[in-house]
């Protein structure tokens, strides 16, 4: 699925941001901040980069998207719906009893999800496993894995970083949503993760740094990542948590809080 036109992609980003605030508002809970920061990263993938077919969600040659930071599922649910995996109407069932849109992704119930997640730190390992399986089968699909910056405090991420480099998994492309916020505050205050790029370089990765809200930069990075051989790539995307909604931007509290009706109205106005 490819949308050549960046204007269309930008429009889609706005639609997805509106979905995110509307669905979390309807749910009365959820994670808008880290969903809003990843919009360009995920929209770019599903509408311009990834090989996938919403009519055939289990197609074995599709590219995979592993949402390691599972709490940001509103952005993924919206993108899946807008891609045609399920009706956009269903977005308002987020987190409700009986919904396929669980509070954290459950691949058993929702088509289009390439994994379940919610316990941070595991997605990169899963991506590596998929990448090894693809290589063994001589298949050329790629595995994209979205990580949170707080998430990389998990030791398992670095185990997986070693594994991907050791097995030369050039079909793995990690994306770091570097919004510098986690629940308890600024990442560098909670548990310093800097220097991020140097760490990944030292672990043997190809590192690309981009402005995560600049679609041109993001798309170019995905292209460059795909051309690198014998090495996994991480795109370190500098982002703003809560991007697009003024009162949510760069405010830690909006990590896991839903907007009330008045806040939603303001947000939707800003996201016109």
């Amino acid at each position: 699925m490819t949308l050549a036109n960046n204007d269309q992609l930008r429009e889609l980003c706005t639609t997805v941001r509106r979905d995110i605030v509307e669905m979390t508002a309807a749910a009365g809970s959820g994670h808008p901040g880290g969903s809003l920061s990843a919009v360009e990263l995920v929209v770019g993938l599903y509408f311009n980069v990834m090989r996938h077919d919403p009519a055939n969600p289990t197609w074995s040659d599709r590219d995979r998207f592993i949402l390691s930071k599972g709490h940001a599922c509103p952005v993924l649910y919206s993108v899946l719906a807008r891609s045609g995996y399920f009706p956009a109407d269903e977005l308002k069932t987020l987190r409700k009893f009986g919904s396929r849109l669980q509070g954290h992704p459950n691949m058993q119930v929702l088509p289009g999800l390439d994994t379940s997640s919610g316990s941070l730190g595991q997605g990169l390992s899963i991506s590596n496993g998929l990448a090894i399986a693809a290589k063994l089968d001589g298949k050329d699909h790629r595995i994209y894995c979205l990580l949170g910056d707080g998430e990389i405090q998990e030791g398992q991420v670095w185990e997986a970083a070693m594994t991907a480099a050791h097995y030369k998994l050039d079909n793995v492309c990690a994306i770091l949503d570097y919004n510098n916020l986690q629940i308890d505050g600024c990442c560098d205050d909670v548990m310093c993760i800097a220097p991020v790029a140097d760490k990944w370089l030292a672990f043997g990765w190809n590192v690309i740094e981009v402005d995560g809200h600049n679609l041109d930069e993001v798309l170019l990075a995905y292209q460059r990542a795909a051309s690198v051989k014998c090495q996994p790539t991480i795109i370190i995307a500098k982002t703003i948590k809560g991007k697009g909604v003024s009162f949510m931007e760069d405010v830690a509290e909006w990590h896991g809080k839903a907007p009330n009706a008045a806040e939603l109205a303001v947000a939707l106005k800003e996201l016109a």
């Binding site: 074995s60 995979r64 592993i66 459950n106 691949m107 058993q108 390439d114 994994t115 379940s116 997640s117 919610g118 316990s119 730190g121 595991q122 997605g123 390992s125 899963i126 991506s127 590596n128 496993g129 998929l130 990448a131 090894i132 399986a133 693809a134 063994l136 089968d137 030791g155 398992q156 185990e159 997986a160 070693m162 594994t163 050791h166 097995y167």
Partner: protein
Amino acid sequence: MMTKMKPTRDGYGEALLELGKSNPNVLVLDADLAKSTRADWFWKAHPDRFFDMGIAEQDMLATAAGMALGGKIPFASTYGVFVAGRAWDQIRTSICYGNLNVKIGGAHGGISVGPDGGTHQSLEEIALMRVLPNMTLILPCDAEETRKATLAAAEIYGPVYLRFAREATPVFTESDSPFEVGTANVLREGSDATIIAAGPIVYEALVASDLLAEQGLKVRVINMHTIKPLDETAIIGAARETGVLVTAEEHQIYAGLGGAVAECAAKHCPVPIEMVGIMDTFGESGTPDELAEAYGLTHREIVAAVLKAIQRKK
């Protein structure tokens, strides 16, 4: 009688070799303990399908999850403490929640690991694995049954945990002995009491039954190799027909096989139950025999438990 001795882990290694030949989708992972788990046999035969993950159990289990998502049948093995314990959340979220086709080889189970001591003696796997939805949990009784269980694990879809041990233990099942996941095997018939055991300690249960026969007691012995799904029919039948149950396991007394049997009996046919196992304590260094004596895991404790249970019959 002269019994052949062989570690149950050898059965794992042999089965992996067989699977390597018969099923190209089988992959094997290990975390720097391939020589101990016997995964190295597969490694030598199929280096292209073996993945050493280094000393990184959490990464190993979630990588296996990804391989399963990619259509493979990964077998990931290392010591039980490091897999069931350290990587429990990976098993829960990355494997069981998605019901992925990952097989876990938990080596060096039980106190019989010996001189490595308490840190390495895995005594909690039944509690840790049985509680996970979608998980199948198997404790084979000897090397031959471990071989069969490992082959069977590749056949059934979904997460499977196989527990095997380090030490050579008696091989008392044959290549044509029945083995079906979820179906307990009655090894001795009897009407006075039933011993339900899992793992190599099943052999001790047989010895206990023979000794009790000398006292005129007919004691049934059930090899409950599959802890989950539990063969409730076998338990209920034993409770009804023999009136008392004794469980025997090389595992913590809490939340182990005894607990599983007690849950079933309490629900369907309450009878006196005695449990033989590790009494809520950690192990220590020693030879396997010394430890079995010290921690009460021999046929003697099983005999005593049967007699006590029979006394409790009204």
